[in-house]
Symmetry: C2
Subunit: 406 residues, 2 copies
């Protein structure tokens, strides 16, 4: 597997575009992904009971539609808590896109992200769709335009493409995602759009995605708030010409590994670009008895407000980490825990068997001053491990969220 | 029942004191409560697997000790994650207090609050205990000294006393508590010390307390972090002379009602004085099918970082409230929800059947500008309700917690 420059337009036959439709202030706010040929689609969606209209639409289409061929996205307004009117507007988006692209309404998936509770400006959005279709293109620049148009409080676009070889054919997986606040995915994820030219059965495409999100997007947290709009869509159009993957053979493993690489990359980029964040906070729990135990512990630490504030302050308040492990719901023996801090500034062991060691405060502060901080908790019970990603809790998180709706 | 001026020293036979022992910088940091006669004790403690040494001590003593007669408390250091040495120091506190008071070691309960992971300065603490014993007194001022000495990042002391009549005798319940950060009690609570001169069996004393904390302390959240030191102790010395309560009769109901009044008061004061808070944030979920459902929903809203930041910004971002209800784990129908905001500035209905109403933004902002804000969510499923309390998420929360350990 190798990383290549690009994003959703990198796999064969995929086009994209991004435009300013007047929903947000002066920023691109509508994107489209289009495949020249029909795709099979897999999706994972928020477990929040309050679901956005486009989430409901996509859940139905991914399940029922024989094929899909386009995704239309707006940022600025979430189309959540908008009732029957909002559901109608969501359908209007699919209808308008289908008419302009010459494909069935049911072949159009929809995503919205932004403020909850306001109706989307459907006239602007229809015009946006009409403006998107003629400029769809397959270049890197077209992918970048789309990746920029799906952002809200994100400070940077998030794109990736990787290349693998399956049955002698070059297969590409590309993607783009967004996510910065209201990030605490649960059996689901943020807005993430992955395209591939691999030939693979719909059943295995969904299985590869569903398995992978548990260890990627579901292991990140920015603020503990599980969004109403979380969506990952994975579109496969088969144009790579590989033997279609219809069983869990070596090709499936290669595809799943590449997909994991892409999703892990995006999960980390979302965490790192958490609202107001100054650092990526990575937590590894090692030597657990079970994977589930390791995941509970790492997710609990990475979600702790007190720990996140301490990371922001470059403050060695490790007791908060033990505290967060203690209320995680996972069993472990506090008196056996070893704790390490690691970054490009070095690695230091702070705790051995639950007790603080003597260490250089200067060395520890040097480690904490870097933009990517890793905490490693060794619980000495088995050989399972888990990694979770988050970010620090900063003044800017409060600033951004004290005024977002106004 | 009537509220009277006072605190832990208000019930007959209870004395208290507070001193500066040199643990914190220039602030009183040690307190003692003493009953002239033996008491029965009830307690509820943190469910965090990582438990402070004094929590372990108290859990054992409340269970095993035939009677208790004193509580010794230090602030500044938590005596958590301190291993066998810390457990020994905790015992030393009880031994020293017992010797100086002339009571058995097992009749002394201990509580510590502050930074996790550092050993307590046992010599200073022993001297503190020696200084506390001779100045124990039963006046309101003595109670105030104790209430001040248990604080950490709290900005104000928290005291209350109420008077009830049981079998023709005046019975008093008094208390003091602290709590400001690492507040998200779970089947347990913060440091809260309640004294009473009621005569009541140990079994009913514990039952009254255990039942009540579920709807009081367990319904508050400042930051989602369940502490390692949460402790509520309830001491009853029987000096009021009422017929001992040994069954769930009318007297028990009166006592339980008064206890609920005291614990609700303290829960609200802890929430309101959350680290960095500028407002008390109250959430009422009404017309739920079950109490448990109402509690899950109200606690989820009050714990949402995004909602708390919006309250700080006086921002009507009600979608975050629906979102937090949606990921609470409780079932409900989003399209049936009515939502109200209420404060001393008025009451306004924002949402009806899940959809935003037209309302005056000025009127809503006037309501949100008050120091106590209530959100009411009517889910129209039954007749159960629940109230939770929290506070806003502010720049000061981040400031306080980015540097607490340094």
């Amino acid at each position: 597997m190798k990383e290549i420059e690009g994003g959703v337009t990198s796999p064969k036959g995929f086009k994209a575009a991004g435009v300013f439709a007047g929903i947000r202030k002066k920023k691109k706010d509508m994107a489209m992904i289009f495949s020249e040929v029909p795709c099979i689609a897999a999706g994972t969606f928020t477990t929040n009971i309050v679901k956005a209209a486009p989430v409901k639409w996509d859940m139905e289409m991914v399940k029922k539609s024989p094929f899909v061929q386009a995704v239309v996205v707006n940022s600025g307004v979430a189309n959540t808590c908008t009732g029957a009117t909002g559901m109608g507007y969501c359908r209007d988006m699919a209808v308008t896109a289908g008419l302009n692209l010459g494909i069935p309404t049911e072949a159009v998936l929809v995503a919205s992200t932004g403020l909850i509770g306001k109706q989307i400006p459907i006239d602007k959005i229809k015009t946006g769709i009409e403006n998107l279709v003629p400029i769809l293109g397959s270049s890197k620049e077209d992918g970048i335009m789309a990746a920029e148009a799906i952002l809200t409080t994100d400070t940077r676009k998030k794109e990736l493409a990787v290349e693998i070889e399956l049955s002698g054919k070059k297969v590409i997986i590309g993607g783009m995602c967004k996510g910065s606040g209201m990030i605490h995915p649960n059996m689901c994820t943020m807005l993430s759009f992955i395209t591939t030219d691999a030939a693979i059965s719909k059943e295995l495409l969904q299985e590869a995605l569903s398995t992978d999100v548990k260890e990627t997007y579901n292991m990140i947290s920015v603020d503990g708030d599980t969004s109403t709009n979380d969506t990952v869509l994975l579109l496969a159009n088969g144009l790579a010409g590989n033997h279609e993957i219809t069983e869990k053979n070596e090709d499936y493993e290669k595809f799943a590994e590449a997909l994991n690489f892409v999703n892990t990359y995006f999960a980390k980029r979302i965490a790192e670009d958490g609202e107001g964040a100054t650092s990526l906070f990575e937590v590894k729990v090692i030597n657990a008895l079970t994977k589930e135990q390791a995941m509970k512990l790492s997710k609990s630490i990475v979600s702790s407000n007190l720990t996140k504030a301490a990371i922001f302050g470059h403050d060695l308040n490790w007791g908060r980490i033990l505290c967060a492990m203690g209320y995680s719901g996972a069993e472990f023996e506090p008196d056996d825990v070893d704790l390490y801090f690691e970054s490009s500034g070095g690695k230091i062991k702070l705790i051995e068997n639950g007790i603080e060691l003597i260490y250089s405060k200067e060395a520890a502060e040097e480690i904490l001053s870097k933009p990517e901080i890793t905490v490693i908790a060794d619980i000495k019970m088995g050989n399972q491990s888990s990694t979770a990603w988050g970010c620090d809790l900063t003044y800017d998180y409060v600033r951004i969220n004290a005024a977002y709706g106004s």
